[in-house]
Symmetry: C2
Subunit: 217 residues, 2 copies
């Protein structure tokens, strides 16, 4: 939901689109197939999938053999860092995006980090994203040789889920094609009970837009 | 050579050793087997190999189907950014190391970046390494919750290859077990002609230490 809305936003801003998906051993890797179809629909210049097996490191319910929490209350969801946190995930994802950007001569990195993630995930905070752009400038040939200025764009950063959905609908996003669930079944149906499903559902309710998702529960 | 000397240094400093190797699709991935043996010899607490296929991104003679340059003069080696530069490589490697560190509760990251690399690779500069430590603090649960202060240690940063070898010998490193060549043959024999081989050879000469490497040429 977030990545697709972010993509639609970058497209509306007139950027050429080079899309990167990461297969990091996530339980919900079916999202990669969704990403492929969405990238095609958007007519992107290129879509790369980079594989990195973070399961070797363990440490998260998204990659390790740890239960994805279900039916947590909104207070629980909003508090602390959840077990679905993947250590240094956005640092790793942005680093790979930076490698891709440098290879193709791009300087604008878009990431669908948002206000809800922000509450629990340190690597979704504005200070983190700014620090990453500064690092990119120092750590690349293109940055050091002054070919351009790296920027990390996080257009959803301060939006609620409802606002993201409203923005996406305005931009023509078809949310039936996006996968949000951390723990979908083998056919890609959302569980309906993990934090991600709950936040998605509530977002549609608050935006007063019909949710096209088929949930198991 | 650099990584092993760095490991020996960290051991001498009294750190517990958790070693990370990255299989990033490098031509010289035989180095991973060397790393495994070296890690065993050092009696490290743990050794992880994380696979990430950077070949998908292209852009470097170390991962793409581009010739590794041979027999370049020392002026050529010392000037500009070589084609063996992998876009954002150290950013990616350090990010994965950060994910590993956060998983096990470590705060000290050691990297064998050195003065020679420094001349051509932007991501070996002190300012880059400091910026990465700051990013780590901002982008992790452990950093934000104040459990410790991330530091990137690069003990070889200002050493010449000869000085690295002298340090390693002092620390008991057996360099016959290390692989430096960017383009070894299938049995792991060094080519003798790539930049890495030339710098290694010259390092042993300048240190006046017998080079245990078997070179093809």
């Amino acid at each position: 939901m977030d990545s697709t809305t972010c993509l639609a936003y970058a497209k509306r801003q007139g950027y050429r689109l080079n899309v990167l998906s990461i297969d990091y051993g996530q339980r919900h890797r079916l999202e990669l197939e969704n990403a492929r179809k969405i990238a095609m629909d958007f007519g992107v210049d290129d879509h790369r999938i980079v594989s990195i097996d973070l399961r070797t490191l363990g440490g998260s319910a998204l990659t390790a053999n740890v239960e994805v929490p279900k039916q947590r209350s909104s207070t629980e969801i909003g508090t602390g860092i959840p077990v679905t946190y993947v250590p240094a995930r956005n640092t790793i994802l942005l680093s790979i995006a930076l490698g891709y950007a440098e290879t193709i001569g791009a300087f604008d990195l878009f990431i669908g980090a948002n206000a809800i993630d922000y509450s629990g995930y340190p690597d979704c905070r504005p200070a983190f994203l700014e620090a990453f752009a500064a690092l990119a400038q120092l750590g690349t040939k293109s940055g050091v040789e002054g070919e351009g200025v790296y920027q990390v764009h996080a257009p959803l950063l301060k939006l609620s889920k409802a606002e993201i959905i409203q923005l996406g609908i305005e931009l023509g996003v078809d949310y039936s094609k996006t996968l949000t669930c951390y723990d979908p079944d083998s056919t890609g149906r959302a569980c309906g009970e993990c934090d991600a499903c709950q936040l998605r559902r509530k977002g549609f309710e608050q935006a007063q837009i019909a949710d096209p998702t088929i949930y198991q529960k």
